[in-house]
Amino acid sequence: MSQSTTHPSTPSRLNLIWRKWRFHLNVLLLLIPLGFMPKYFSEAALFRGDEGLGQRDVGEIQVGPWSLRLAEFRNEAPRQEGPAGPMKHFNAALCQRCIGQVKATYLRIGKPRSLRAAGVIFFGSPYRMGALLPVPSKTQPDAELWITLEGWDGSMHQASIPLSQASPATVAWLNTQGTQR
């Protein structure tokens, strides 16, 4: 059944060690989850909000009479989301007094032409809402990020910040995309 029966000569010492331990080598597979464990727990902490809204706070942004605090969920370049292309996850929190008044919050690269094209809408509690912003790889690195707030009273207010302020990691990534443009 084992090869040793068809192997009449005495195997060397090294060979013996190999024979004895080869099927125990897969114990090394345990190193994979052990290696990823710190990453697992840091991710869990990130989702639990231990680091605040995200890994990098962008700051408080005034939008008309209201304001919101914006953060990059991960301080890194946009992630490829399958066929949807590169996406950047932003989190935001509305100011306490505007929670009752703001109906919706949107994010877009470049100035929206109308409220209907205001970009991606934020989901979640006004204390911690998230949006996945598509960032095409051909976006200009000097582009602006536009925030649109829609009020329950029908009003609309907009503000913009340079993408380099919103996410330096994204701009750095866009700069490396330059050769493919």
Binding site: S9, N26, V27, L30, W152, G154
Partner: protein, 404 residues
């Protein structure tokens, strides 16, 4: 090929299927077994998760009352969703967000509405599932490679089952004459154990290996952007149907108990166990729960302002393929029929783990003997020969394996 050499070949295949990765397979089995009862383990460790009745005849609160109770205790806390676990001894799990931006899951007593505590920082349930399901390898773009690594094991497991039954001739006789020889040495014991537990868990190994293989297929489909879903994509709540308000503040949302009534009218027999509140002004309210078929959820998606039913996802809406594939996950995890099903899954999970271990022990003992034999046959008497002599007593029993 002669009949004998063919069965020998099958036997070899059976022996080699899990062997080179036995420890990995073992840990996947053990973590999977733990994951089945992880919720119960947390329940045992954490009294805040228990749903103790204030009085014997205390009625369950409706969802609207639960939200009201939370609002009264913590006026600023925002509620996102409410889950009523399958077993009545579990408290409600409510996802909330605090004004400081921290999301949390809190345990709420289903009879009194009291917030009993927050889920522990270390989420044992999620951790065992992540370890078992994807070996903790993070998901970055599509499925993690850890998921592939683990779900691939479905194939050798299935092959082990088939080859095991082929080499174990007339295995059905084992049902009528169960054999577990305890006093004939470890090798005999583990052999008997392996065969006995093997035949009694045929159904379980089949379920786990087939559903495990489905997880592999699922990842392959997803990562290649192939969808088998027949569920239509639901547009957001139309701008026109979101009411305007004169005073510039948010209009009131539909009462949750009323929403449940509407859902139950449209889905007879719905036992709502999950309520997802709208994620923003243009998103819907979702109510889902099980019906007569415990393996799948049915969902009603409602306009949160006027209670208009925007979409229904019923059992009958599923294609045959979806009926099969959507049943795979609950069949794998055993979380579809309360505590007893979980305990059955847990028990057979332990048996399966023990089968991996016993398979290895049998192999090790046999290899040790075969190696010793080879030494004995060689010219020079060596350490190996002495080892062979000391192993002699169990040698006679060895031949029985060959005839398997």
């Amino acid at each position: 090929m002669s009949k004998k050499s063919r069965s020998k070949l099958w036997f070899l295949v059976h022996s080699w299927l899990a062997l080179p990765i036995w420890f990995f397979v073992l840990i996947v089995c053990v973590t999977g077994t733990l994951a089945v009862v992880s919720q119960e383990i947390v329940w045992l460790a954490n009294p805040e998760m228990r749903a103790s009745k204030p009085t014997d005849d205390a009625p369950l609160l409706g969802y609207e009352q639960v939200v009201a109770a939370i609002r009264q205790a913590q006026p600023l806390t925002q509620v996102q969703s409410i889950t009523r676990p399958d077993e009545s001894h579990f408290a409600l799990e409510v996802r909330v967000t605090y004004p400081d931006g921290r999301p949390d899951t809190v345990y709420v007593n289903p009879y009194s509405g009291v917030i009993q505590g927050s889920a522990p920082t270390f989420n044992f349930q999620a951790f065992t599932r992540a370890l078992h399901g994807w070996w903790l390898v993070p998901f970055t773009n599509g499925f993690s490679w850890g998921w592939y690594l683990v779900s691939f094991l479905g194939l050798p497991l299935l092959a082990s089952l088939v080859t095991g039954l082929v080499v174990y001739k007339r295995f059905w006789k084992g049902f009528f004459r169960p054999t577990l020889r305890i006093r004939h040495g470890a090798r005999i014991f583990w052999g008997d154990f392996h065969r006995l537990s093997g035949i009694w868990s045929i159904w379980f190994i089949a379920v786990i290996s087939i559903t495990g293989t489905w997880f592999l297929i699922q990842a392959l489909l997803f990562d290649n952007q192939i969808s088998i879903s027949s569920e239509p994509v639901l547009p957001v709540v139309a701008r026109e149907s979101v009411p305007l308000s004169a005073d510039g503040t948010a209009p009131p949302l539909l009462n949750l108990d009323r929403a449940l009534e509407i859902a139950q009218q449209r889905i007879p027999g719905l036992e709502a166990s999950f309520i997802n509140l709208p994620g923003n002004a243009y998103s819907h309210l979702e109510i889902s729960g099980r019906g007569w078929y415990p393996l799948m959820f049915q969902t009603a998606t409602l306009n949160p302002y006027d209670g208009d039913v925007a979409a229904l996802r019923l059992l009958s809406d599923r294609t045959t393929l979806e009926f099969v594939t959507e049943s795979m996950r609950p069949l794998h995890t055993g979380d579809f029929g309360g505590l007893w099903i979980k305990l059955i899954w847990f028990f057979f999970g332990l048996i399966l783990s023990m089968m991996v271990l016993s398979g290895l022990l049998i192999w090790t003992k046999r290899t040790a003997l075969a190696t010793a034999n080879a030494f004995k046959r060689s010219q020079k008497p060596s350490r190996g020969a002495r080892a062979a002599r000391s192993l002699q007593p169990s040698m006679g029993s060895e031949s029985s394996e060959g005839s398997l």
